[in-house]
Subunit: 334 residues, 2 copies
């Protein structure tokens, strides 16, 4: 079965201010060794589907950034959203384009462009299993075995085993409170919903037709166009594929991931994934992220659970507890 | 009575790293509006004794810095220590030089170069009172009425009133622990020892001869020279004038200060004195000092009682509780 890798790279998130901005969101940053988040994601998918089958969906304003970071990307495989929508239109559009090109019976491996995944070899193993399940007609999501009672992710409760290593989905759970998350962790039957999917092009389009008829209709009107007008695109319903399709589908499945994963949703998350830069001296300090792009020494004394980020434009000193407020503040500052 | 203002500007302190360094200690920094610490001190003294009677004692390596900051300073009145000694040799030397120039019966008003004093008018009032007492042959120190049980200063217990507003010294107390400091504060008869003095040149020389004969002998060998060799100068006993002279003198007196004062001993102390620089945004933060010399925005979120200092060379983020450790760290880093 032919496989296409579809990278969702439309995020405009600025939770990494002052490093990230609307003009340079997280997926284009080199937070980790080996390339930008987008490049690392593209490499992981290309290992499974080949570079010529890698497709990127992003905002039209990020066209040049993507082509600079992925010079090998086939221009046909760059889908430019004229406005930001949610994941269901993004994925549905990519599926519709592939279908129009005669790849209805191929598989799509869909991944966000800005997640941390380690090691790549285990991603390949899990994805191979997921693609095998997709071949059988299942809509597969990868489930991350939780190692903490995180409240920032949705959870998936697994059902019975459908294929070796592939489970039905008993239910999708919204982001829980801490107590509930603790129970999920103890139970052992719950996974974090990582937003990484595998399915046949025809299956996801059929599920959209069934559960999101409005989106299905809208996609037909786009007609496989890779640069649709803002009028048509903005009419697509802004909904996540999880809520719009997966929660309603009878053929949803989950494959537990053998890789370690983080969505690196904020600076403390970046620290946990090993992100750091610049020369730093710490004293009486624990769990400190230092990220300095200016080449200056950073000294932190007597502070724990903080992020210190220095760029040519600004210095951010932030307690972990405020990480979720940064987006709002950075919107105000930009 | 003629008055000479003697500024002790030999500090090599680096508790203001990364802003201050051995090459640019605190007294030469423009922490406050209106000039550098040295310039502000010189202005306060000049108001009482005239610019031509201002004398500066500093390290030989700071010669150019002093002359650049005080271009009006008479070169004869710049005493250059070839090595750092404590305050007794510094003050004794200045007194010996003045005595050699025929000013034995003049008064000396002695002040450290790096303290914060506000308002200048009240300094003038207190100093005038102190000089009046000095004229009567007393060795006068200015006592700061404590407004908190600070443990970082020595205390003076006042004795009986000798002249209006001038008290004998019952005892000098070393830096106390917090409980003792609390008692001193409650008692009301204690003052912080600010290290600002007034006395007749002849009186301090007589007291040195009596209580520090070794220093007295060493000063005679310098013979009024304003640039002594390192051999002779380094033989002077390194002792504070408080311990070496004031604690033993029978004619010590204290004048309670009507001005507000801080030695600005560290970054939190600077914050209390109103020091700040650069554009800053705070959220969920209290008691934060931001000092940025680079023109960049500083954002602090969710942290209190911290100092954030950004220079072209380094970024310091420090909890108040670590302020006293900074000196050691900066010595290591330089």
């Amino acid at each position: 079965m032919k496989v296409f890798g579809v990278i969702m790279a439309g995020g405009r998130g600025t939770r990494f201010w002052p490093l990230s901005t609307v003009k340079m969101p997280k997926q284009f940053l080199g937070l980790l060794p080996g390339g930008t988040m987008l490049q690392l994601t593209a490499d992981r998918l290309a290992a499974l589907c080949g570079r010529k089958n890698v497709m990127v969906v992003t905002g039209v304003e990020y066209r040049d950034l993507v082509l600079r970071q992925l010079p090998w990307l086939s221009p046909d495989n760059l889908l430019l959203e004229p406005v930001a929508r949610n994941t269901a239109p993004c994925i549905g559009w990519a599926a519709a384009v592939l279908n129009d090109r005669g790849h209805g019976e191929s598989a799509m491996l869909v991944a966000p462009s800005d997640h941390w995944v380690e090691p790549a070899r285990e991603f390949e193993n899990t994805a191979t299993l997921a693609l095998r399940a997709a071949e059988k007609g299942l809509l597969v999501t990868m489930g991350i075995p939780p190692d903490s009672p995180a409240t920032g992710y949705g959870y998936i409760r697994k059902g019975s085993e459908l294929l070796p290593g592939v489970y039905g989905v008993d239910s999708f759970q919204e982001k829980p409170d801490a107590t509930t998350a603790g129970k999920y962790l103890e139970d052992g039957g719950y996974f974090w919903n990582a937003g990484i999917f595998a399915w046949r092009v025809s299956e996801i389009l059929a599920a959209i037709a069934l559960h999101m008829p409005e989106l299905s209709e809208g996609l037909k009107q786009l007609g496989g166009c890779s640069e649709p007008g803002v009028d048509r695109f903005s009419m697509l319903p802004s909904e996540s594929v999880d809520v719009g399709v997966m929660e309603k589908a009878g053929n949803a499945a989950v494959v537990p991931a053998s890789f370690r994963w983080s969505d690196i949703g904020d600076w403390p998350g970046a620290r946990d994934a090993g992100v750091s830069r610049g020369e730093a001296v710490m004293e009486d300090s624990e769990n400190v992220l230092v990220y300095d792009t200016t080449g200056r020494l950073t000294v932190v004394m007597g502070l724990s659970n903080v992020s210190v980020v220095c760029t040519e434009n600004a210095t951010l000193v932030m307690a972990d507890s405020c990480a979720q407020k940064l987006r709002k503040l950075s919107d105000r500052l930009q």
